[in-house]
């Protein structure tokens, strides 16, 4: 059975009469419909052949849900068998399944080189970027689900609104003390200071960390590791002055800020850009303590 598409055809065919095309005769239309059906059959056959011919196939179990379509509004898993090739990623497998078996299979993806951050998924129980996760490294059948703790819009697409709001809550923009005088003068930064903030600037806003965080799951207002990391990027930059740093510490020290973190390291573990998120949060806690002591 592994070469078969084991997907239930639960979807209701749209029975609506095709809208009359202005310049198309009924004969033309029947012809094109026939052609379309023949092509669909051919494609499906071709896909099956590819699967048969492949030395190896992999199975993926994909979470499906579409509130709009009858028969799909109950969450379920669909199984797909896809031909394996060396170097195949989770995203490659999803694209194959979508383009050959079910064009309604929905997921975000764009750059496929781990920098746009749009394809963070829950793969075999862990947050990962689909495009940089090798199928060969995973135990099959590979289970692919949307990021946990976020509302599912459809299939693997989650609502990112809350994540973006948290990112923007920390005043995520550079606020230097003063700009250098003179034309075309840089605000000099020591290579050491750049090194200190370097990892924090690598965040691609994929949301994997937030989704892996138990605290964020239980406290919707918790700023979360990505937003706190963003605050770290600026608070640790030597060109933002002391007053600005105090303001930043105040933001991340609020009730739902750094003190909520229980150092479980799950964010650090899943970060696809290897940002030491937990360490950054701890360092901000220390900074906050130091700055509070100053006023005593």
């Amino acid at each position: 059975m592994s070469t078969q598409i084991e997907q239930e055809q639960t979807e209701e065919q749209t029975e609506a009469e095709p809208a009359e095309e202005a310049e198309q005769s009924p004969q033309d239309r029947r012809l094109s419909e026939k052609k379309a059906r023949a092509e669909a059959r051919e494609r499906e056959e071709q896909a099956r052949e590819e699967v048969r011919d492949a030395d190896d196939t992999v199975r993926i179990k994909v979470f499906r849900y579409d509130p709009e379509v009858e028969g799909k509004s109950e969450p379920r898993f669909d199984d797909f068998s896809v031909p394996f090739f060396k170097g195949m990623t989770v995203l490659d497998a999803l694209i194959y399944a979508r383009d050959h078996y079910d064009s309604s299979l929905t997921f975000r993806h764009s750059c496929r080189q781990a920098v746009c951050g749009s394809d963070a998924l829950f793969v075999n129980g862990q947050q990962r970027l689909g495009c940089k996760t090798q199928m060969a490294d995973l135990e099959g059948p590979v289970r692919i689900e949307p990021l946990p703790h976020q509302d599912v819009v459809k299939d693997l697409v989650v609502d990112m609104e809350h994540f973006y709001e948290q990112m923007e809550a920390v005043e995520p923009y550079f606020q230097p003390d003063e700009l250098p005088e003179g034309e075309r003068e840089e605000q000099r930064q020591t290579p050491e200071n750049r090194e200190k903030v370097k990892m924090s600037t690598r965040c691609i806003w994929c949301g994997a960390c937030m989704s892996s965080c138990n605290i964020a799951a239980g406290d919707n207002e918790y700023l979360g590791p990505a937003a706190i990391n963003k605050a770290y990027r600026f608070a640790m930059d030597e060109r933002e002055g002391e007053i600005q740093k105090e303001d930043r510490l105040e933001i991340i020290e609020q009730e739902h800020g750094v003190w909520r973190c229980q150092t479980q390291f799950s964010c650090t573990e899943v970060c696809p850009k290897d940002i030491p998120l937990t360490e950054h949060i701890q360092e901000l806690k220390r900074e906050a303590v130091k700055s509070n002591l100053k006023f005593w």
Partner: protein, 607 residues
């Protein structure tokens, strides 16, 4: 209906820069983007940003290098404006907190790049685009600029006066991806297209999946000419399996290309005896493919790029991201072994014709960034010139659209700039399959500013309903066929019969596209429908590239033709223009401007 002074379509580097500039000029500006801004493809740029910052460097040198790199198909007013504005833009970015790589004294680092006479490429590791994108998005957040995200713009709302130069753009119509609703956006001052490149026209590309060239196709169908579309940049170092980019920074830092005999091919076979690996991108791409074609490629497909000798410390400091890419996508440890590389589609030099202020020949319609052709890159873009382009011309378009005070443009646009009529070569069939039923811009229905957006909303609603409710051919196969034929026939090396074959395949794709429909009937996040609509844009752009390539009977920059192995300045020092007219492309030419503040005498390009 949403209404703003200025609408920016696309939120990558050019869009963000344009929005900030329009905002600073006092306009109420909003961005409409298919993705969320930080997902934009500018984030994938690696190498750096060219700008003459050193005292011993100068804008004149930068302009000269750019003109030479363009193989004298750049327009001097664009090239000079660019080289003059770039340093201010880079420092501006630095003031916004862009985490540039630094020298010991705390100033920004600059490194050598291909075709540059001075090391003038500023960078942030090998992830310059990521930092540029995020830094500018931060500034957009700071200013509270409205962003409508995950809105796929389907068409421009342009009046349909018969004469293109009388047309006005009043807004755009978008498909709300999450809800499936069609939305009208009205712009009282101007619309700026900043939708990025069309890499998805090809099968092997460094471009993101979202780069389907929507802006080119929309402007083209509204009547704006596409300029020099045959000039497609193939980047010489992309990973063979995925097309993921390995930055020119690797060669800039001293990386070396080897063939299967472990020979340093750029020198051993005399492709560029002066500059070696740092010759410009077209030269290196052809060198690599020649090696492969002559049997000296590795596994008959690629060559090796070696950076091991640079040492771990330098690699980690300046090229760390490259190690991750090679490891994740090719399973190769760049510290231990050379990386496999081959040429892949990377950048579109041509695009929507604009002047130095980003303005098209349609009133109120602008374009900036890769989608635009101000004619800066001409026949070949120098590495490190794309990011400053989007800064300089993004800012100018934003300011102009907001009504900012600017010098009148020297570059002429629109059909009235025509110097000579062209002819679509014999024996090929191009343009709309059935112009009668196509909704072309000029059907006399909408010349009223007040209703043009509404009538476009109506038209797009009908189109979406039809695609959702009818049964038909799946777009994926049509798109795949285009990508395959373009990669096979319109690649680095071009032969007449192949170009004609490609046009035949494009014709066939048009026929099939008539019967296309989405099989997913959902109104929620319907990517099947999105991709179906994008595929039409891909077809139009593929055709424009191929027609331009067939018409240009010479060898210039990235455009190599088997029968014509020389640059023919006497006849071809001119821009290829393609204008959509009642569903059919019209080919004409306009002269190259080699005179600005300086004069640029065409010379043989040697590296």
């Amino acid at each position: 209906m949403h209404e703003h002074d200025v609408l920016v379509v696309g939120a990558g580097g050019a869009g963000l820069r344009a929005a900030i500039a329009a905002h600073e000029a006092g306009a109420d500006v909003a961005m409409v983007t298919k993705l969320h801004p930080v997902r934009s493809h500018t984030g994938a740029a690696e190498g750096g940003i060219n700008a003459a910052l050193h005292p011993e460097d100068s804008w004149e040198l930068h302009a000269y290098d750019t003109m030479k790199g363009s193989d004298y198909l750049g327009d001097a007013p664009a090239v000079e404006t660019f080289a003059q504005d770039a340093p201010d833009e880079v420092i501006q970015l630095e003031h916004w907190g862009m985490p540039f790589s630094r020298e010991e004294d705390g100033t920004v680092s600059q490194r050598p790049f291909g075709g540059l006479s001075h090391p003038r490429t500023t960078y942030a590791g090998a992830e310059t685009g990521h930092h540029l994108l995020h830094t500018m998005y931060e500034q957009v957040v700071k200013r509270g600029i409205t962003v409508y995200e995950e809105q796929q713009v389907l068409d421009l709302a342009v009046t349909d006066h018969d004469d293109v130069e009388d047309r006005e753009c009043h807004g755009v119509v978008a498909y709300d991806i999450a809800s499936g609703e069609i939305q009208g956006y009205r712009a009282t001052n101007g619309v700026i297209l900043a939708t990025g490149g069309p890499g998805q026209v090809f099968d092997h590309t460094t471009n993101a999946v979202a780069n389907t060239g929507d802006g080119y196709a929309m402007a083209y169908r509204a009547g704006v000419p596409l300029e020099d579309m045959e000039f497609v940049q193939f980047h010489p170092t992309t990973l063979p399996s995925t097309g993921v980019l390995i930055s020119e920074g690797v060669r800039g830092e001293g990386g070396i290309l080897y063939n299967d005999n472990e020979e340093r091919l750029m020198f051993e076979y005399g492709y560029a005896n002066n500059d070696g690996e740092l010759a410009s991108r077209d030269v290196v791409s052809r060198a690599e493919l020649t090696e492969v074609n002559e049997g000296r490629g590795i596994e008959d497909e690629y060559v090796h790029l070696d950076m091991r000798h640079l040492g771990e410390e330098r690699i980690l400091d300046r090229l760390e991201n490259i190690l991750h890419l090679a490891e994740d996508f090719e399973g190769v440890d760049g510290l231990d072994e050379p990386m496999p590389v081959k040429p892949g589609q990377h950048y579109q030099m041509g695009g929507v014709e604009v002047d130095e202020n980003g303005h098209t020949c349609i009133d109120g319609l602008y374009a900036a960034g890769e989608v635009a052709c101000v004619s800066l890159h001409g026949g070949n873009r120098l590495g490190g010139n794309a990011l400053p382009e989007l800064l300089v011309f993004g800012a100018r378009a934003g300011k102009h659209a907001a009504g900012g005070d600017m010098k009148e443009a020297e570059i002429q646009t629109g059909p009235s700039a025509e110097s000579e009529a062209g002819e679509i070569p014999d024996g090929v069939d191009v343009g709309a399959v059935d112009a009668g039923s196509e909704s072309v811009a000029a059907d006399g229905a909408a010349v009223d500013a007040g209703t043009v957006v509404e009538s476009e909303v109506q038209r797009q609603q009908e189109r979406v309903d039809h695609l959702l409710e009818d049964e038909g051919v799946n777009h994926a196969q049509v798109r795949d066929d285009i990508q395959q034929t373009m990669t096979a026939n319109v690649n680095v090396f071009r032969r007449e019969e192949n170009l004609k074959d490609a046009l035949g395949d494009i014709r066939e794709a048009r026929e099939r596209y008539r019967h296309v429909a989405a099989s997913d009937p959902s109104r929620t996040y319907n990517t099947d429908l999105m991709h179906t609509m994008e595929t039409r844009n891909i077809i139009d752009i593929a055709e424009a590239i191929t027609v331009g390539a067939l018409a240009r009977e010479e060898f210039r920059g990235a455009h190599w033709r088997e029968q014509y192995q020389e640059r023919r300045d006497d006849e071809w020092l001119k821009h290829t223009m393609l204008a959509w007219s009642d569903g059919n492309p019209r080919l004409y030419y306009k002269p190259v401007l080699l005179e600005g503040e300086k004069e640029y005498e065409p010379k043989e390009r040697s590296y």
